[in-house]
């Protein structure tokens, strides 16, 4: 015979909520981390395709490895923009809202500068390589353009944050837009580090040595 619903000692009773809990403010941040995870996985696939195609014996001819000057300047711009944004966020924590806004504005300007530079870089590159020249051109431009599209998305998020009426602590969503948009921007920056390393620096190292 089985006992019906035999009494069982509850191992650990949960804490009874005594007072009302504060309003949750971190949903957006969690969602952003997951977005970054899946987007990161997308870039992993793109880079994997890049290396896979590169392995494709004797068909992968990078006669002239991409020139480094623009890419490195762009890297500098983007990385410093991350620091500016970080500074802006620290101002936000100190409740210096104007300074936070200024930091955000400068970041956006730097992002725009990045896009302008990448337009120049495209124009220079385009002279001897296009997406339809060969598989190298295809994957190169696809990765660079995907990244540019992410920069544009990041800029849109930042601009959206800039136009928000107020930054003071709020119980209204989006609770922490500055922080959340910032996370995305840092992610976009880090991806560019990999783009520069894999697409620009490595071919040069292969051809010219250190």
């Amino acid at each position: 015979m089985m006992a019906a619903a035999a009494p069982v000692q509850a191992t650990r009773l949960p804490r009874q909520p005594g007072t009302r809990y504060p309003l949750d403010k971190s949903r957006g941040e969690w969602a952003m981390w997951l977005t970054i995870a899946t987007e990161g996985s997308l870039f992993v696939c793109l880079f994997a395709s890049y290396f896979y195609l590169a392995n494709n014996k004797n068909r992968w001819a990078i006669d002239h490895p991409p020139k480094l000057h623009y890419a490195l300047i762009m890297l500098a711009v983007l990385l410093s923009s991350s620091f500016v944004l970080h500074w802006g966020e620290s101002q936000l924590k100190k409740q210096r809202y104007v300074a936070a806004r200024v930091g955000l504005g400068i970041t956006i300007l730097m992002g725009l500068g990045f896009l302008a530079l990448s337009a120049f870089e495209y124009m220079e590159h385009w002279k001897d390589l296009t997406p339809d020249s060969n598989s190298y051109g295809s994957i190169f431009y696809t990765i660079v353009s995907f990244h540019a599209a992410h920069v544009i998305m990041g800029l849109l998020m930042l601009s959206y944050t800039l136009t928000l009426p107020r930054y003071s602590p709020t119980s209204r969503s989006p609770y922490r837009p500055y922080h959340v948009a910032g996370l995305y921007w840092h992610f976009v920056d880090i991806v560019w580090v990999f783009v520069v390393a894999f697409l620009y620096v490595m071919p040069n190292v292969r051809v010219y040595g250190f």
Binding site: M2, A3, A4, A5, A6, V8, R59
Partner: protein, 336 residues
């Protein structure tokens, strides 16, 4: 129900052994090595299935009711999981995995990275929906091209290089050897051998478009002497027609559209997008081994290829009269 299927299935398997395209009907060392392992695993897994189904059915007799349930801290049953779920499968799977590796090692199917050690005797190029076959053995003047029907000497391993001109295909003759894909830009290699002379049918085994179903394959293994005769014959240019009908037929062939696509060596017909017809008369089948090669089918094929293989790349050719058609077919048939 369940038991009936389990009992029946070996019988069904046996009944399948005799058929021409069955992996049980192994006629070459490749297939002959796979078949026993396959047989063992199938039988073992049928037994495992039977045991598992019995294990599922027995507890049904112990009924309970929705009104009661066991205490929630009741334990037990871990042994089942450890033994049945972990240890036994681990042993069985490891054994089969190792058996598979041993088999694979002795198995001459290769990727392009191993091509250094393999000098292909035959190059097979897949097309939508037929096979182009190059015999590469010997000096250049001993090489020739044919299509769809591959002859090999019996009892002798032949190395094939497999490529594709357009989309993916796969080379598969179940009674001789496992399959391997034909992928453009990725040549693969396979060693194939038939123990006895005979005809071995196969099929393209990678979906390649509307006529994937009619991309069939025939390997003919011959005794050494017969094989030598065959290669001698293949090295000849297309037979020069002698009868008046055949001479008229050659004219139809050369002046019609045929020569834009097909080649008959020794004639001005030098098309390269379709099967070589130099010795079409000697083949057993047409349409990539899908239809018998006889007068009726040839006539019908030439005028209505699209009814036999809808979508295939040979058009219906109807711009000649009945006499011309008969002459044309006579000509084709004497191209032996």
């Amino acid at each position: 129900m369940m038991r009936r299927i389990a009992l029946l299935s070996p019988l069904l398997l046996l009944s399948g052994c005799a058929t021409e395209q069955s992996i049980w009907n192994a006629r070459g060392p490749g297939a002959a090595r796979i078949a026993p392992l396959m047989w063992w695993i199938v039988v073992l897994f049928l037994v495992v299935t039977l045991i598992m189904w019995i294990l599922l059915v027995i507890p049904i007799r112990r009924r309970g009711s929705l009104d009661e349930h066991a205490p929630i801290d009741i334990g037990g049953g871990q042994g089942w999981v450890a033994l049945g779920g972990l240890l036994i499968p681990l042993a069985v799977l490891t054994a089969f995995f190792v058996a598979g590796l041993i088999l694979m090692e002795r198995f001459p199917i290769h990727d392009p990275n191993n091509s250094a050690v393999l000098k292909p005797d035959i190059l097979v190029i897949g097309h939508q929906w037929w096979w182009e076959v190059h015999y590469l053995d010997g000096p250049p003047d001993q090489r020739f091209v044919t299509a769809n029907e591959i002859h090999i000497p019996a009892g002798q391993a032949v190395t094939m290089e497999l490529e594709s001109e357009d989309v993916n295909h796969a080379f598969w003759v179940p009674t001789l050897q496992g399959k391997i894909d034909m992928i453009p830009g990725h040549p693969n290699f396979m060693r194939i051998e038939a123990n006895q002379p005979g005809d071995y049918v196969g099929q393209c085994a990678e979906y390649c478009g509307v006529q994937h179903a009619h991309m069939r394959l025939l390997v003919v293994a011959q005794s050494a002497a017969a094989y030598k005769d065959w290669t001698e014959q293949m090295l000849q240019p297309g037979h020069t027609p002698t009868t008046p009908e055949a001479i008229a037929g050659e004219q139809v062939f050369l002046t019609g559209k045929c020569s834009t696509c097909h080649e008959v060596r020794g004639t001005p017909a030098r098309g390269h997008v379709a099967p070589d017809l130099t010795h079409i008369g000697s083949r057993q089948y047409i349409g990539a081994d899908s239809f018998p090669n006889n007068t009726a089918y040839l006539e019908a094929w030439v005028t209505h290829a699209q009814s036999f293989k809808p979508g295939c790349l040979m058009p219906n050719i109807t711009d000649f009269n009945g006499v011309q058609l008969r002459d044309l077919v006579t000509y084709l048939q004497q191209l032996r």
